[in-house]
């Protein structure tokens, strides 16, 4: 096994983004390569022989298969098509060769980039990269079994497509900015969702993934030992579609991971990102620079916080004046309507055992034809029709 394989095994990345619909902040820990797009089913399960972590984001501006994040020589690389009209699936099938059709951008820890309309922050496990070399010297201990769909089994050099690295081009669509963590949430100890903790942690399907109280995957916080178990082969798909407006992102594990996306938590429990900088009373430990940056950002684009009672939407306020969410020292956990969600048990929860779970589980099969203004025939309908075909109507006395 090559050294690169070991590096790939060691590198963990954490992508942090905010679901545009539900407002929930997603923070899955993943092992590269990571395929990102709008359609989960069009994301590849494998690249060569390497298992791929898949992330589907509900963003109309994203292509079904938009980009790949992969590790190359210990460096995290983002790969997107050169031609904005193409998706990565087209590029990988391109007869002219992959190398000329893609652009690469290196990503460092804390970089913020944007896919479609979804801004993301990547946190790279620097500790993992540093420990990659010692792992390389002990192949016997890290050799995975061939049957396990772990990303560590094949060497990425042989498994991934041969993609020479051109100089980093600039792209309007996919721009990286080596910035600080712009979201103040990221600096706080926060709930971290590790997808593969779910089955062991809580058998209750309503809580299908566990929420571990750990530090962020940040070199400054030395949190890697607690996060290192996020292997893509075991990753369960996680879709925290919190509640009413919960159009969400489905974060899936690598190949073989069952598409058992569940929505966890109720609307009342969903966290909303902080909008306006805290005032002095609430600014415990928050750097003033960041607050002023956020204030400037809000002044231009309006508040990013997800607000609303029945359905969540972007706040968009330019000032916190009169905002019911900004009263309690601008705490990002504060939801003025939280108490009212208790009137409806499991509001926004469509997991197994709750109302709508059957529809929710099959939601990918429904197709609303906006042009025709009706629900179109789907695979699910086909299955039900075929069941009818199989019936022997002569034996069915109730049939007309």
């Amino acid at each position: 096994m090559s050294g690169q394989a070991k590096q790939g095994q060691g590198m963990k990345i954490r992508l942090v983004w905010k679901d545009a619909c539900s407002g929930a902040v997603r923070k899955p820990v993943l092992t590269p390569p990571v395929a990102i797009g709008a359609d989960f089913e069009q994301l590849p399960e494998k690249l060569g022989q390497r298992s791929v972590s898949r992330i589907a984001i509900a963003d109309d501006t994203l292509k079904p298969f938009h980009a790949i994040l992969m590790e190359e020589k210990g460096q995290l690389i983002a790969i997107t098509p050169k031609d904005p009209s193409q998706s990565m699936a087209d590029v990988l099938r391109s007869p002219a060769g992959v190398a000329n059709a893609i652009q690469k951008q290196s990503l460092n820890n804390g970089d913020r980039f944007q896919l479609g309309q979804t801004p993301m922050t990547v946190q790279v496990s620097a500790v993992a990269q540093a420990t990659a070399a010692p792992v390389e010297t002990e192949p016997a201990e890290t050799e995975p079994s061939e049957t396990e769909p772990s990303d560590a089994s094949p060497a990425p050099s042989s498994a991934t497509p041969e993609i020479p690295l051109p100089p980093q081009p600039s792209s309007d669509e996919f721009s990286t900015r080596p910035t600080k963590l712009l979201d103040p949430d990221l600096d706080e100890d926060d709930d971290m969702i590790t997808a593969n903790d779910a089955p062991e942690a809580d058998p209750n399907p309503a809580n299908a993934f566990s929420v571990k109280q750990t530090k962020l995957l940040d070199p400054r916080l030395d949190a890697l030992p607690e996060l290192a178990d996020a292997s893509p082969g075991k990753d369960a798909a996680v879709g925290d579609r919190a509640g009413a407006a919960g159009a969400g992102a489905a974060v899936a594990g690598a190949a073989g991971a069952e598409d058992n996306r569940v929505m966890a938590g109720s609307m009342a429990k969903s966290k909303t990102p902080k909008a306006f900088p805290r005032d002095e009373a609430g600014a415990a430990g928050a750097p003033s620079e960041r607050s002023s940056e956020k204030a400037e950002e809000n002044a231009k684009t309006g508040c990013d916080r997800q607000v609303g009672f029945l359905f969540k939407r972007r706040c968009g306020r330019l000032t916190p004046t009169g905002c019911p969410y900004c009263r309690q020292n601008n705490s990002h956990d504060y939801d003025p309507y939280e108490a009212d969600y208790f009137y409806y048990e499991h509001y926004g929860d469509y997991t197994v055992g709750h109302w709508g779970s059957d529809y929710y589980a099959e939601r990918d099969r429904y197709y609303y034809n906006r042009d025709a203004g009706r629900m179109d025939f789907t695979e699910a309908d086909a299955a039900s029709f075929e069941e009818e075909f199989d019936n022997d109507y002569e034996m069915d006395m109730g049939a007309s």
């Binding site: 359609d39 089913e41 509900a58 109309d60 079904p64 579609r241 509640g243 009413a244 407006a245 919960g246 159009a247 609303g308 009672f309 029945l310 359905f311 939407r313 309507y337 009212d340 969600y341 009137y343 409806y344 048990e345 509001y347 926004g348 469509y350 109302w355 709508g356 529809y359 929710y360 939601r363 990918d364 099969r365 429904y366 197709y367 609303y368 906006r370 203004g373 009706r374 629900m375 179109d376 025939f377 789907t378 695979e379 309908d381 086909a382 299955a383 029709f385 075929e386 009818e388 075909f389």
Partner: protein, 306 residues
């Protein structure tokens, strides 16, 4: 927005189409007016009572001692009583049932959570008694008591219409139902007395949502199961739950002893129930890719159960 006092006094109702902020201002103004009216009524009532007592005392004294002086004082006091009564009558129409505008304030605030500030809302709040003549819907002989009549009243004193930020139009109406039985009753001594009895038959809470099809196009898929999503307080019955491709309508029947807080809680449950359905419909609608052909369909040559 200025409140038309004449109309309010005459019709005993408040009706306006305005943004929520203006409606809330109006309702606050109504509350202030009501408190002022209550204060003035109490003040003039006490004054009138004092004048009447004074007039009686003066009349008594005048009959004993100074007849003419007492008569003049009595006329003056009676004039003062009339003036005070006129002044008091000015505020009678402004003494509104507190629970009505307070309920309207609460519900408007509740609905405003998901509305844009500039969204126009039509609000109608009635302050008349439920047993007003215009609310009578039916009158029939009492089935059990001969000579008695049984009148039915329906009083829809609260109605609000508007739109949420997601493009959904809503219409919410509250209707109280009463039965009023009246007639003459003969006592054991043979006297005939007019008796009446009013009985509440419950309150209906009717919510209608007209949804944008682009966002909630799959609503029709949930037609058969939407009813199960409705959660209610104990004692509340689901009267109607109808789902169409364009929206849904849910009607709850609250028990006769429902308090204002129970109505409010039921309404919150009702809204959350409706949006539990709509949010799932949105989930099902948001996928805009064409359906994939299933393997089974290929095996059957693409036949679709015709």
């Amino acid at each position: 927005m200025a409140i038309d006092l004449k109309s309010l006094k005459k019709n005993q109702s408040y009706s306006a189409i305005a943004p929520v902020s203006e409606l809330l201002d109006d309702l606050n103004e109504l509350a202030v007016m009501d408190k002022d009216a209550e204060h003035q009524l109490k003040h003039y009532g006490t004054l009138r009572l004092g004048l009447i007592v004074g007039a009686i005392v003066v009349a008594f004294l005048a009959s004993l001692f100074l007849f003419y002086v007492g008569l003049i004082a009595l006329v003056g006091l009676l004039g003062a009583v009339i003036w005070v009564s006129i002044q008091r009558a000015k505020y009678v129409g402004l003494d509104l049932p507190d629970e009505r505008y307070q309920f309207a304030q609460e519900i408007t605030n509740l609905l405003a959570r998901d509305m844009t500030p500039e969204q126009l809302v039509q609000l109608d709040v009635g302050f008349r008694s439920a047993l007003a003549a215009e609310n009578k819907t039916n009158s029939q002989p009492h089935p059990k008591r001969s000579g008695w009549t049984l009148d039915s009243y329906q009083h829809d004193w609260f109605k609000v219409q508007g739109g949420f930020a997601d493009g959904t139009r809503f219409s919410l109406a509250l209707m109280e139902m009463f039965q009023h039985a009246s007639g003459y009753k003969r006592s054991a001594s043979g006297k005939r007395k007019y008796k009446s009895k009013t009985k509440s038959k419950g309150t209906t809470l009717d919510l209608q949502l007209f949804c944008p099809r682009k966002r909630y196009g799959a609503l029709d898929v949930l037609r058969n199961d939407a009813e199960k999503a409705v959660q209610m307080l104990p004692g509340v019955r689901l009267k109607r739950c109808r789902v169409t491709p364009k929206g849904l309508a849910i009607t709850l029947l609250l028990p006769p002893d429902a308090t204002a807080s129970m109505v409010r809680d039921s309404l919150i449950k009702l809204l959350l129930s409706a949006y539990q359905v709509l949010n799932l419909a949105q989930q099902l609608s948001q996928k805009s890719k064409p359906p994939k052909k299933s393997k089974k369909r290929k095996r059957n040559g693409g036949r679709i159960g015709a």
